[in-house]
């Protein structure tokens, strides 16, 4: 008798469990979202991913690394592969070369890849060295660098010395920005000299110290291009420290609320907004389309920019591109 009750209890426990397993194994599409690091840019992208998921009835599993880097992103990626239920992965690879191997493993496990913001190889998924991702959806960072260069050139009156503060080498996004920036300065502004490029390794204090040192070497420095949030913030602080706020122009990539504060204070003269919400939303759309059998998805989508300066920052048409996280 006791045995029967015991068995009955076990059955009663197991039946609901299996039903849970069964319901989660229905044909709802599961999309993994793995951005580069916790920051406002990727948080806005996450809003886009979630909005699209709600609109299209798919499930999203999000994991945000606490620091930028292959060594942090890869274990999270491996864990997401190990779950076994993820159909599509929307990822911002933290290194264009080193992440190829780990993502190939995801492909081998049957997961389809869409890269957002950063890409693998040279970003050409049709003819380039890496062809397994469905698409790259992001900013044309080289173009962003060009726009930043023209903005800075205008702010300093077309001549003088400028300096680039960047984060890490071999990251497709910031690397492209510097390339585009240099290209425009070389070709279009013969009177502007790009004097140096420093990597701050994502450390605010380092960015500030580096910029202060460059201001010593080049006391007549006219402008600075900060290729991301940390770079622009560190550069802006060093300029303030030297008492040169408003004298040395700073162009900031990424429209964080902090960058906008600095724009209003006059530390930063131009802010380039990317469209992370679009990137997240479209990546989910692409996954759903691919699952439905669409075969003509573009391999590369450029989401464009909004250019924010002190004159248009309050215009709602422009202000909606500021990275607002609830």
């Amino acid at each position: 008798m006791r045995k029967t009750i015991f068995l009955l209890l076990i059955v009663l426990l197991i039946v609901p469990l299996t039903s849970i397993v069964v319901t989660s194994q229905d044909d709802t599409l599961v999309i993994g979202f793995l951005p580069g690091v916790v920051d406002p840019f990727y948080q806005v992208m996450q809003l886009g991913v979630e909005a699209a998921a709600a609109d299209m009835g798919v499930e999203v599993v999000t994991q945000i690394p606490e620091t930028w880097g292959v060594q942090v992103q890869t274990p999270i990626l491996d864990a997401m592969i190990a779950r076994g239920d993820i159909d599509y992965l929307v990822i911002a690879p933290t290194d264009k070369d080193q992440m190829i191997g780990p993502l190939q493993a995801a492909v081998d496990a049957g997961i389809r890849i869409i890269t957002v913001d950063t890409f693998l190889g040279d970003g050409d998924y049709t003819n380039g060295p890496v062809t397994f991702p469905i698409s790259y959806i992001g900013s044309d960072n080289v173009e962003g660098g060009r726009i930043s260069a023209r903005g800075l050139a205008e702010a300093i009156g077309g001549s003088g010395k400028v300096y680039i503060n960047s984060t890490n080498p071999n990251v497709s996004s910031v690397e492209g920005r510097a390339v585009g920036f240099n290209e425009v300065m070389d070709n279009e502004y013969p009177d502007i000299e790009v004097v140096a490029l420093d990597f701050n390794l994502d450390d605010l204090n380092t960015a500030t110290t580096q910029t202060a040192a460059q201001l010593e070497v080049h006391p007549d420095l006219a402008g600075i291009f900060g290729t991301n949030v940390f770079s622009a913030q560190g550069a802006g602080t060093a300029v303030i420290n030297a008492g040169l706020g408003g004298e040395v122009q700073v162009v900031a990539y990424d429209a964080t609320q902090f960058a906008i504060e600095q724009l209003r204070e006059g530390t930063v003269s131009l802010v380039l907004a990317q469209k992370p919400f679009d990137m997240g939303y479209m990546a989910v759309q692409f996954a759903v389309a691919d699952a439905a059998g669409v075969t003509s998805l573009p391999r590369r989508v450029e989401t464009g920019f909004a250019i924010i300066d002190i004159d248009n920052v309050d215009d709602p048409e422009v202000a909606r591109f500021i990275y607002q996280v609830p």
């Binding site: 606490e66 450390d203 580096q210 202060a212 010593e216 004298e247």
Partner: protein, 354 residues
């Protein structure tokens, strides 16, 4: 101080090296050793030095504090949140800044108290306790910080973090100004020397206090005694547990001050500001000659250690050498520092016995 002769000599030769090499690479246009650049270097050492000061105390007491970098981040976030809340509730700016300072120091001190209690009373090794708490503190800082960066601080905060005691414009149309930034532009602005920025002044005060405490007070003597020989310290009736707790509180508090200063400097709280600083602070302490076995070391040693690191960063950037080289040089200096100390002890030992 005498025992650090080689460190002073190294710092001196480093400066001479940069003076010459910067002159050469810029065709004599740029001087490494200017008032302005000396102030840049002083500003650059403040975070490393503040973390190093607390670390010095703990290491002299034969412990280690691996949590300082993240305690600094937590303090930065706490001070920004408190400062903003105080200001938004209508308090005047100065009072809000004071409240931000208190939030940083009290929040950080609380972490240090927990570290100390677990180490002293529950006898868990300091390495383990502070390693564990560094992860916890890091998580808490990120959670509290909203999106890693706490923004919306009142604009005037910037002045507290970046203004200075003295402004000096050399040459024509210049002058000497105290406490108030002169309202100049263009060429005059570019020639302006900003001397003794507030963060440097506050750090110097902390250095002074800790030098005094270690050299002149019973607390200092007890710290050396506990680090030198724990058994003996216990037998002479030193309240070892209470003392250890105080050391970890002090270590966290100096890290807290570093976090508070970074909030003022960047006009924002940052949950990642201290990420890269732990190892630099330990390197500064070791270059400065503090023995990892405890019982020996001075604050001035740590000051030199921090200076060497900051001079390297600034100098290499001015030479247009990527900062990566800095790691290689600092690493070499750390190992050399200990080697020199060891061989010196050996020589002195032989002289004494011989």
């Amino acid at each position: 101080m005498i025992s650090r002769v080689w460190a002073w000599a190294f710092l001196g030769s480093l400066i001479i090296f940069f003076v010459i090499s910067v002159q050469i690479t810029t065709d004599g246009r740029v001087n490494f050793l200017t008032i302005r650049n000396s102030q840049n270097i002083l500003v650059a050492i403040t975070p490393v030095l503040l973390l190093g000061l607390g670390q010095t105390l703990v290491i002299i007491g034969a412990g280690i504090d691996l949590s300082v970098g993240w305690v600094m981040s937590l303090a930065s976030v706490l001070s920004a949140l408190a400062l903003r809340a105080a200001f938004n509730s209508g308090l005047p700016l100065f009072l809000s800044v004071v409240i931000g300072f208190l939030a940083a120091v009290v929040g950080a001190g609380f972490v240090g108290f927990l570290n100390g209690v677990i180490i002293a009373k529950l006898k868990v090794p300091a390495f383990i306790v502070t390693l564990g708490s560094s992860f916890i503190v890091r998580g808490v800082a990120l959670l509290l910080s909203e999106n890693t960066t706490v923004i919306g601080l009142p604009r005037g905060v910037r002045n507290y973090g970046n203004d200075a005691l003295i402004y000096w414009i050399q040459g024509e149309g210049g002058g000497l100004y105290f406490l108030k930034r002169p309202d100049v532009t263009g060429d005059l602005l570019r020639r302006m020397n900003i001397i003794l920025p507030y963060p440097v002044v506050l750090t110097a005060i902390v250095v002074g206090i800790i030098v005094f405490v270690l050299r002149k007070t019973q607390f200092g003597r007890h710290t050396y005694a506990i680090g030198g020989n724990l058994e003996a310290a216990l037998r002479t009736g030193i309240p070892v547990d209470r003392h250890l707790i105080s050391l970890y509180v002090l270590s966290s508090v100096t890290a807290g001050i570093a976090g508070f200063l970074s909030t003022l400097r960047f006009t924002a709280g940052s949950a990642v500001i201290g990420d890269a600083l732990l190892l630099s602070s330990i390197a500064a302490v070791i270059i400065g000659g503090v023995s990892l076995f405890g019982g020996a070391g001075t604050v001035m040693g740590t000051v030199i250690g921090s200076l060497i690191i900051a001079v390297l960063t600034t100098g290499l950037v001015m030479l247009n050498v990527q900062a990566f080289w800095q790691f290689i040089v600092v690493g070499t200096v750390v190992i050399l520092a200990v080697l020199i100390d060891q061989s010196r002890d050996l020589i002195i030992g032989r002289m004494n016995t011989g």
